[in-house]
Amino acid sequence: MASLIAGGVDCDVHPAVPHLTSLLPYLNDYWRDQVTTRGMVDLVSQSYPKNSPIVARPDWRPETGKPGESLEDMQRHVLDPFQLTHAICNPLYGVQMVFSEDMQAAFCRALNDWLVKEWLDRDPRLRGSIVIPTQSVEKSVAEIERCAQDRRFVQVLMLVMGDSPLGKRALWPIYEAAERLDLPIGVHAGSAYHNPPSAVGWGSYHIEDYVGQAQAFQTQLTSLIVEGVFAKYPRLKMVMLESGVSWIAPYLWRLHKFWRGVRMETPWVDRAPLEIVRSNIRFSLQPFDAPPEPETLIRLFDHMQSDELVLFSTDYPHWQFDGQDALPEGLSPDLVRKIMIDNPHATYPRLS
């Protein structure tokens, strides 16, 4: 087992909102009244059903409430034992499923304020991601600018399956603001369920949606690269969170081949997709979908031809590994240091 080292950055932990009513103190009178008068229910996405085995490790599951809703548990389960200097909080509360841009903006604002007050203020190791109301690009930019004044927000968070492909030009003001404010865009697994959760329609099962997250990340990378996001915003970093990593190299071989074949269609893509990924895209470590043999892992990392792509994550409280085995077997000490410390700091300017 590759040895963990102290001082690492966990780039993907999930504090849970206990219930929609937990956000009431952070809503204005109008929205507080809307929530209560209309009897709105908790916003739990199908991407993460509370009792699903992948949503919490058995020994990380609380006796009552949602996995990840207690700071003390997070400290006891990951922050202390993994000797982390920082952990980046990516709330997966289902605000993206809302269709009204006004309601979504109110909920996002409340969620971000809740994160500051209930988490960031209570443990100096924690950092946050700004959840944005993507139904309105204008409101998203305003929320980014509002939250960015607090340097503890280190990233903007979007879902991998939203309303439109992430490269679409309509979203670019979000990327302009993020680049200007030193905020990478974190793209996390999960769907707003405004489109079928696979490119071939609605499947039957939770496991199907979960496996399918990897394909969603692949189509989003294609969109981001071929629309020219990184030609326009060369300093912008994007981090694929809970994406899986073992598909990266073969996916890029295919994209690269087609780019060479039909690049006349997108002439603004001025660098090879492989180079764009190496300079602008990063991936969180967990889940690591590969057999346990070190020789396979060594080949997979070698195929990536870069030791800068992967950032350490536990994906707390999701069940991706047992015990302290957050690092798959076969990583060299140098690579462990890159993954746990150097790569996260190089990706998130606001960490230092």
């Binding site: 085995p53 992948i54 991998v160 399956m161 939203g162 309303d163 439109s164 492909p165 992430l166 679409k168 769907s191 489109n195 079928p196 696979s198 490119a199 071939v200 329609g201 609605w202 499947g203 039957s204 099962y205 939770h206 496991i207 199907e208 979960y210 496996v211 399918g212 990897a214 394909q215 969603a216 692949q218 189509t219 989003q220 294609t222 969109s223 071929v226 899986g244 073992s246 598909w247 190299a249 073969p250 996916y251 071989w253 295919r254 690269h256 081949k257 087609f258 060479r260 074949g261 039909v262 269609e265 997108t266 889940p287 979908d289 590969a290 057999p291 396979t296 080949r299 070698d302 031809q305």
Partner: protein, 369 residues
């Protein structure tokens, strides 16, 4: 491809002699708009003239994402006697079959009755295409074998078409496309798998198709390149559906071929399925074994378009993880992203693996010696 590739610094490794090969993805085309009419009832001829074809997408002619080349095909593949690329047997023989020593060529017609909203028309067009494949192609060149195309959204009529053709040696597989109204594992498609298994025919799943769903899980992308690269994601979702709905468990003799969607994604998909299944198997108790086992036993892949790593030997790792016995060489003739047989495999492949890759695996799967 008729696109100039960067030359490798290593010498290319042309086949020293023209070893016999199988080409498992050839696309035959109609020379004229009305070439199918002799195989269609008067009613459907009239329907086509008056109403045309309404697929699960809005355009009456052509695809929603314009191709990179006319008909997505090589500009040097127009037959001298006229007609679109791939519409002349004699020119296909001259350009593809003879010079490459193709011993087995599997026909996969694409513009058929599949993906059409009127399911009766869909069935009629598919049946007509099947007759046309025999008359125009397989009866005239014994190297060519046909695929049974079926009205994909109506499982029962599709199964009837398969049963009608079962035992006819002109046909070596049933053909579906990856994008349908629902993911391919859903129950509505099971009669197709049942009939194919009974007939002892593999089911090929070719990239493309129209099912009405946005072609990414976050909506419609902008460009042709996104559709092209995205075929591998559609195929992965379709295969995951087949595994997780229990199709391979229910039809243990069924063999499926993933056509023209790459194969580099197969190991990571299988690993991911296995890992998720360890956690979530209580949701899918009908999936009795690790998903990778079904895939290893019941799925094959055609090679074109071959993944093309910067370091070409990296491909060997992926092929080793899939199995050298599972890949079927294909050119995709006459399409623009054609793979040239002499240059798809990096140097350093054993003679046994090379023979299996180019010919043996296909002969075995399709029962042709």
């Amino acid at each position: 491809m008729n696109i100039q590739f960067r030359e490798s610094t290593e010498a290319a490794s042309p086949l020293t002699t023209k070893t016999a090969i199988a080409d498992c993805d050839i696309h035959p085309a109609r020379a004229t708009r009305t070439e199918l009419y002799p195989y269609l009832a008067k009613r459907w001829q009239h329907h086509l003239e008056v109403y045309g074809v309404h697929a699960y997408q809005g355009m009456m002619e052509g695809p929603p994402y314009p191709k990179a080349q006319p008909n997505a095909s090589r500009r040097d593949a127009y037959p001298p006697e006229g007609g679109p690329q791939g519409s002349s047997l004699s020119f296909m023989q001259k350009q593809l079959l003879d010079p490459n020593n193709v011993q087995l060529g599997v026909l996969n017609p694409l513009n058929t009755g599949q993906g059409i909203r009127n399911h009766e028309l869909s069935a009629a067009l598919c049946s007509a295409i099947n007759d046309w494949q025999i008359d125009k192609w397989t009866s005239k060149d014994k190297r060519l074998k046909a695929s049974i195309v079926v009205g994909n959204e109506d499982g029962l009529s599709a199964a009837a078409e398969i049963r009608e053709r079962a035992g006819d040696k002109n046909f070596v597989q049933v053909l579906l496309l990856s994008r349908n109204v629902e993911p391919l594992g859903q129950r509505r498609y099971w009669p197709i798998y049942q009939a194919a298994e009974e007939a002892g025919l593999p089911v090929g799943v070719h990239a493309f198709g129209f099912g009405g769903n946005p072609i990414t899980p976050s909506g419609w992308p902008s460009y042709y390149i996104e559709e092209m690269v995205g075929h591998s994601q559609c195929q992965q979702s379709a295969l995951a559906s087949l595994v997780l709905e229990g199709v391979f468990e229910r039809f243990p003799k069924l063999k499926m071929v993933m056509i023209e969607a790459g194969f580099g994604w197969a190991p990571s998909l299988a690993w991911r399925l296995d890992k998720a299944w360890q956690r979530l198997r209580s949701e899918v108790p009908h999936v009795k074994r690790p998903p990778s086992e079904y895939i290893r036993e019941q799925v094959w892949w055609t090679t074109q378009p071959m993944e093309d790593p910067e370091r070409r030997e990296d491909l060997f790792d992926v092929i080793k993880w899939i199995g050298w016995d599972r890949l079927l060489f294909a050119t995709d003739y006459p399409h623009w992203d054609y793979d040239e047989p002499s240059r798809v495999l990096p140097a350093g492949v054993s003679e046994t693996n090379r023979e299996a890759f180019y010919l043996g695996n296909a002969q075995k799967l399709y029962g042709i010696s």
